[in-house]
């Protein structure tokens, strides 16, 4: 900043040209942010709080869309079930993914790169193709499992494992080895080192991993479609149904906002645990 002040004195004209250019450069981005990001979200909120049921916009304020949602038992139940399955899926993904990330850090440098590539490369493959691949394998092994909670959770673990492993691995790989050595030198068993040193220090990775699994697992359309055997409906499917089949704009917007707020609250809780533990770490 001080530097640009200097230039301003020396070279008034050029500075002006620079400023103009800067504003012009940024303009398309500001337009995208305002028109294609902020405006759609604002309009969604407006629609949720109006009595609009079809596409035409009605400006009168109304909570009818929210009222409708909270009065419909199927919706509430589906919402709770979706969150419950997403939570279970997140826990299982963590239970599988944490040791995986941990073991990978114990390999040689070159093998680590290979292993991480092997485990996370499926992130780049279309979700629907992967869900379809999993469906085919389950059909081959035990078709009667289709539609069960077990298969839904298995599907989530399969889909989102890379999103759990990557952030945990990143944190664990940066962990100072001397900390583990000193823990052992001070007489801690390897189990104790794990629970008292490694896990607390990798908590930030665990939390971002959990967020990256929980969010898509709670809102997935793909898993119930491929693994639900036509009888499982999650909250995403209900939103889809309200909006795409029934064209209930305001209603769809209202459910989305409720869902968004609930998930935001969960994220907030997760973040909170992180901060709390950080404080604890310092105190110890």
């Amino acid at each position: 900043m001080a530097k640009s002040g200097n230039i301003l004195f020396k070279n008034h004209n050029k500075q002006k040209g620079k400023r103009n250019l800067r504003d012009v450069l940024g303009l398309p981005y500001y337009i995208v942010v305002l028109v294609l990001i902020l405006l759609p979200f604002l309009i969604m909120i407006l629609y949720a709080f109006s009595s609009t049921s079809d596409g035409t916009f009605d400006i009168t304020f109304s909570l009818s869309n929210f009222g409708k949602f909270f009065n419909e038992k199927t919706f509430i139940n589906t919402m709770i079930e979706s969150l419950y399955l997403a939570a279970l899926s997140t826990i299982f993904t963590l239970l599988v993914g944490y040791p995986l990330a941990y073991f990978i850090t114990k390999l040689s440098r070159r093998k680590q790169v290979l292993m991480i590539a092997l485990v996370t490369s499926t992130m780049w493959v279309n979700m629907l193709l992967r869900a379809n691949a999993l469906k085919q394998i389950i059909d081959m092994i035990s078709p009667s499992l289709m539609g069960s909670n077990f298969v839904i959770i298995l599907g989530n673990v399969y889909m989102f494992l890379p999103f759990m492993v990557l952030p945990i691995y990143t944190v664990l790989a940066k962990l100072d080895v001397s900390l583990l050595e000193s823990s052992a030198d001070l007489g801690a068993s390897s189990f104790k080192t794990m629970t008292k040193v490694v896990i607390p220090l990798s908590l930030s990775g665990v939390i971002s991993g959990c967020m990256m699994v929980f969010l898509p697992a709670a809102t997935t359309l793909v898993i119930p479609k491929y693994l639900g055997d036509g009888k499982r409906f999650m909250i995403g499917n209900l939103i889809e149904n309200a909006v795409i089949q029934k064209h209930e704009y305001g209603y769809g917007a209202a459910i989305s906002i409720v869902l968004g707020l609930i998930l935001l609250f969960f994220m907030f809780l997760l973040k909170k645990t992180d901060k709390y533990d950080e404080v604890l770490d310092y105190e110890q």
Binding site: I7, N11, G17, K18, N20, L21, R22, D23, G26, P28, Y29, Y30, V32, V33, L34, L36, I37, L38, P40, I43, M44, G55, P99, L100, F103, K106, R110, V113, L114, M115, V119, S121, T122, W124, V125, N126, M127, L128, L129, R130, N132, A133, K135, Q136, D139, M140, L161, P216, A218, T219, L221, K225, I239, E240, V243, G252, S256, I257, L259, G260
Partner: protein, 261 residues
């Protein structure tokens, strides 16, 4: 004891690699099945690959996907990069406001963003189709490009730009000859993120494109008669391309390392 531990570790790692790849390998294998079945093997053939290239719906979906991905990547890379350069020189309050808003689609669940676009296009009575899909893709990938490029712009040596001006460069020359070459790697990374996100996107495309235009994901999702082996053939081709790219990167990174050593 130690040996046993290593043993358990290796078994665990390989079990999970198997868990990741068995479904994919099985799908690849059954794309070469002569019969219609996706679970019982009847013989080797390329029939599903022939059918795939003759299937106009699938080919159209592939073409749409590539077209949307290419256009939205080019547009969002240019807009995001210029935005990063402009924002890095702006006042903090303004910058943080803009970045805060552009974080909304990154932090929101995909379906919420998708509904926002659905309602938005509906409210302005814009007919949903290819254009709206491209607009939605530009909207969700531009912030990612900005996130990829911004740190690099921020770490640029300001003296270099000043030096360029002192040596008589016009603002345009400073941009093209000094700033852009230095942030090239970050721009490519941003473009790669934008492209894969667009190519793989389902939820936002589904809600922003209406019923007529389909990308690969929408085509798969709305397939009435269930998955056919042609889809396996398509998956196989896509996965071979992605796998090839990953192996190429891995081998290349290994070579670079050897050279460094």
């Amino acid at each position: 004891m130690n040996n046993k531990k290593h043993h358990f570790r290796n078994v665990y790692l390989w079990v999970l690699v198997a868990f990741t790849y068995i479904p994919i390998i099985s799908m690849i294998v059954f794309s070469f099945n002569s019969g219609r079945s996706l679970t019982t093997w009847t013989g080797f053939s390329f029939v599903w690959y022939e059918k795939l290239f003759a299937d106009r719906d699938i080919m159209e979906a592939v073409l749409n996907t590539v077209m949307v991905a290419v256009i939205s990547t080019i547009v969002s890379t240019i807009i995001g990069t210029l935005g990063a350069i402009a924002l890095s020189k702006n006042k903090k309050v303004f910058r943080e406001t803009v970045m805060g808003i552009s974080n909304i689609p990154i932090l929101s669940p995909e379906i919420v963003t998708a509904i926002a676009f659905f309602v938005f296009f509906g409210a302005f009575a814009i007919e949903k189709g290819m254009t709206t899909m491209i607009l939605a893709h530009i909207a969700f990938s531009t912030p990612y490009v900005l996130l990829a490029v911004y740190p690099k712009v921020k770490s640029l040596d300001k003296d270099l730009v000043s030096a360029a001006y002192d040596l008589g460069a016009t603002p345009r020359q400073a941009l093209f000859k000094v700033i852009l070459p230095q942030i090239k790697v970050a721009i490519i990374a941003g473009a790669a993120i934008a492209f894969t996100m667009s190519f793989d996107d389902f939820v936002i495309s589904y809600f922003s494109s209406g019923t007529m235009v389909k990308n690969i994901s929408i085509y798969l999702y709305t397939l009435k008669r269930g998955i056919e082996p042609t889809v396996n053939a398509l998956s196989t081709i896509i996965m071979l391309i992605i796998g090839g790219k990953i192996i190429y990167d891995y081998v290349k990174s290994g070579k670079n390392k050897v050279e460094e050593e």
